[in-house]
């Protein structure tokens, strides 16, 4: 586990620092999916008070090689610093591994709104990933007549598809 310590002015008396930290974390964006906050993706695993009174935030990477991971981490650190919540530690949480099942309902809705089809399967079906599956329906016209153009799209978490009916390309957030 990697941890980075930050220090700052302590939380104002009478306020719950954990709740304040969650408030601050809700502002952090995913640089690859600017419409979504990282809490929509379920990347924050926990916020807790340590015995020394400092805060600890657990953060998970989506893909191990995702270049956005470092930017997200800096975003989390900055949000916590500017919320002035005293000493904070950001801990990388690898286990259990992040899953697309943890994208919240609000997150799925936001993905839809920017033309990205949210994962259609749950991780319980991961073994079926190796079998060719039914491509997702087009998020624009709803047609089921779509094809996969590329298993890896603009980021590792998305595949690139095209609708054969309206001819528009669209992205699919892979189940992982």
């Amino acid at each position: 586990m990697n941890s980075a310590a930050l220090s700052g002015r302590a939380a104002p008396p009478g306020e719950d620092p954990v709740a304040l930290a969650w408030q601050a974390l809700k502002t952090v964006e995913d640089p690859e999916l600017p419409a979504l906050k990282i809490v929509d993706l379920g990347l924050i695993r926990f916020v807790r008070l340590r015995s020394d009174g400092g805060l600890e935030v657990g953060l998970s990477p989506t893909y191990v090689g995702c270049p956005a991971t470092e930017v997200i981490r800096r975003g989390v650190e900055q949000a916590l610093c500017s919320a002035q919540l005293g000493d904070c530690v950001v801990t990388e949480v690898l286990s259990p591994a992040w899953s697309s099942d943890w994208i919240t309902a609000a997150g799925r809705q936001k993905l839809q709104m920017c033309g990205i089809v949210p994962p259609e399967r749950t991780v319980a079906n991961m073994r079926e990933v190796l079998r060719a599956d039914r491509p997702p329906a087009c998020p624009r016209c709803g047609s089921a007549d779509t094809e996969c153009l590329s298993e890896f799209g603009s980021t590792p978490c998305k595949a690139l598809h095209r609708c054969r009916a309206c001819l528009e390309p669209f992205e699919y957030f892979k189940c992982i």
């Binding site: 990477p61 893909y63 191990v64 090689g65 995702c66 270049p67 690898l94 286990s95 259990p96 591994a97 992040w98 899953s99 991780v123 991961m126 073994r127 990933v129 190796l130 060719a132 153009l149 590329s150 298993e151 890896f152 799209g153 603009s154 590792p156 690139l160 892979k174 992982i176």
Partner: protein, 256 residues
Amino acid sequence: MSAVTADAHALFRYVLRLGDLSLVLGQRLGEWVGHAPALEEDLGLANIALDLIGQARLLLSYAGEIEGRGRSEDDIAYLREQGEFLNAVLAEQPNGDFGQTIVRQVLIDAFQLELYERMSASTDERLAAIAAKSVKETRYHLRYSGGWLVRLGDGTESSRALVQSALERLWPYTVELFAEDDLDRAMAERGAAPRLADVHAAWTIRLDEILAQATLTRPVDRPQSRHGKRGQHSEHLGYILAEMQHLQRTYPGARW
């Protein structure tokens, strides 16, 4: 050496084997960036390379912690000599044409898939966590590489001939992946790693399924003595390291 340090040393070497396999293969795939047959394949190979480098980072950081001499993932990747790399030599074989890259990828993706799936239950918590994370991504790697092998094998006469000959050329290197030595055995006995015989059996079934769909013929196993896992490499690794390590060797400690 005390029993504890001997155990730690064995684990260190085992984790390097896994990390180096991903690192060297990731570096090889990176050579395709800007050169792949189509933009989609450029992105696909680059994304797989990124995942592999991500796995290597987790594994090499862990190796550095086990070793306890303060070496970081970067020190281990950039400042070791060729003989200290412990990847199986299959990973360092040249890209060749797209078909040969795909064949190498299928062979290693299927190996990593079967290995990581079992290693998710490792008694070593850290290895279990890294394996459970990596196996999810590896499924997509195999879906990509296996899909391409089927299209090329069951494609034109010329694409089929190219991938069949790449398969003949690379197949002998797979023997080393499954050749269990004292270190593999010790890790399996501790429950830290699966038995390679189990991984081999599952790998063979998976490969046979893909090869059948691709209408390709599985080459015959021939005894081979490759010892990349002990640090004895083909001539290709030196060139990879020269490129990968050049910057850190020339400007020690350089940072982004």
